[in-house]
């Protein structure tokens, strides 16, 4: 026995691969044994994980839906820009177009506006009192206030009007839904780690002697750790599979809401939501297991 023998044994690649496959197989067997030994506790853990992931998945999906609706409604909001009587219409359009976040400009010359107006109202033959008008749409309704302020500052502009309160409310709803999603994500993450940590602690307590013997006999840390990490990941995966059902039911209601508001649907969104809860369930559970057994393996 010397440093070289501890560092490595020279083996062929094929033999290393075969050895790795055998070890992987035995780790899997250990994992299955661990899950089997947990008995009824499995149901409790998977049920709890499913509940947390369902709450997270539903709030996440709702938040995305809310964001889409708000964004779509926001696109309808326009800024009405009334130019000064002596303003040059072309210059005004040019300057407004140069403002960042401006999406589209609908130009209504004063003559056209007056003609249209007279078609609807019977008026005596008076001088046209209407100004040249621009209807401006912004790329994101979040920017509407800033764009309106920038337009107000232009020398050709007499007055600017938009549905200020509606825009503010939409922005607030959008902000709240985003914040709620982040908070729920963090809380769910902590809850997942906390539950899995406690669960694995119970599993470790029942295997304490076995782990101690394995350590003393020279079993690698990762071999001791991996079945417990996989066991955690299994709980996360099972919880996710259950949580997907209520999320898919929610999706059906969201589809109907989209149809009602005539909001275009993105079929990838539900996949993103499922991928997120799957990631959260599996990775957070596996990490929770990893962290909780680390302290038992300090050498």
């Amino acid at each position: 026995m010397n440093n070289d023998s501890i560092n490595s044994n020279k083996r062929s690649k094929a033999s290393i691969i075969v050895t790795d496959i055998i070890i992987f197989y035995r780790v899997l067997m250990e994992t299955i044994k661990g899950i089997t030994q947990a008995g009824m506790m499995n149901i409790f853990i998977i049920g709890t994980m499913a509940a947390i992931l369902t709450i997270f998945g539903c709030i996440f999906r709702t938040s995305i839906a809310l964001g889409s609706v708000v964004k779509e409604l926001g696109k309808v909001l326009e800024i009405s820009v009334y130019l000064k009587p002596d303003a040059n219409l072309k210059d005004a359009v040019f300057e407004v177009r140069n403002i960042p976040s401006v999406d589209r400009i609908n130009v209504i010359p004063k003559q056209k506006a007056w003609t249209n107006f007279r078609k609807t109202v019977d008026l005596p033959n008076i001088e046209n009192p209407l100004p040249d008008t621009l209807h401006v749409r912004v790329k994101s309704q979040k920017d509407i206030k800033q764009v309106a302020k920038s337009i107000e500052g232009l020398k050709e502009v007499e007055d600017v009007k938009y549905a200020h309160e509606l825009a503010e409310k939409m922005r607030e709803v959008s902000d709240i839904s985003h914040t709620a999603t982040i908070i729920i994500l963090i809380v769910s993450g902590f809850l997942t780690m906390f539950i899995i940590n406690n669960t694995i602690q119970i599993v470790i307590a029942s295997k304490r002697k076995e782990i101690e013997i394995m350590r003393l006999m020279g079993v690698s840390d990762w071999y001791i750790r991996m079945p417990l990490v996989l066991q955690g990941a299994f709980y996360g995966l099972s919880g996710t599979l259950i949580a997907i059902i209520p999320v898919l039911i929610l999706q059906r209601y969201i589809d109907k809401t989209y149809e009602f508001f005539a909001v275009p649907q993105n079929p990838m969104t539900i996949n993103v939501v499922i991928a997120t809860i799957l990631f959260m369930g599996v990775v957070f559970c596996a990490c929770g297991s990893f962290v909780s057994i680390k302290k038992h393996l300090n050498i």
Partner: protein, 224 residues
Amino acid sequence: MINLRGVCKQYKGTFALNNIDLDIQQGEFVFLTGSSGAGKSTLMKLLYREEKPSVGNVLVAGIDVVRLPAHKVPLLRRCMGIIFQDYKLLEKQNVYDNVAFVIRTLGLSSRDIDNRVKSALKIVGLSHKMTSKPTELSGGEQQRVGIARALVNGPSILIADEPTGNLDPQTSLEIMEILEKINQRGITTLISTHDHAMVNHFRKRVITLEHGRIIKDVQQGTYE
């Protein structure tokens, strides 16, 4: 094979080991004696890196155990066989599985594992008890399972911490005879014990510890 230089181990101001210098050659059979709290177990734990010395160097087969990276400690332990007073067997597993479980983690084929386990059980005379659970065995038989487990990976050093501490004199003698037989295969054997009769019977090298210091180191010694 084993070299300790200026080794001290301190626990909250108390010296469990104090300035230990020790050399054990390959193939030696050594008894480590001393009263409870003399530092025998601590010294053994230093060899398989369950503890680290506060000061000093520990070399096992040329390996600097103190500076060995944590991830290589399992590799060090696999080169040793460790035997405990309380056997440390897995009660839910039978004799065969208790001996096999460590080498199963090494990725050996089932046939290799089977050969090694059967060979180790043959050495300790338990081939006929492979399917028994530890609870169905006597103390001596349980310790023999512990020895088989220590042997199964072909160690070059055998460390036994009070291996006969829970056994009657006759069974203790049987266990010691097995350990001597193993030593005759060239495996360096270090045994801590309180058992006067065993030490006096075998007349091997005896190292005596007292208050963490080596007070005696005698070839073919006795327990005094």
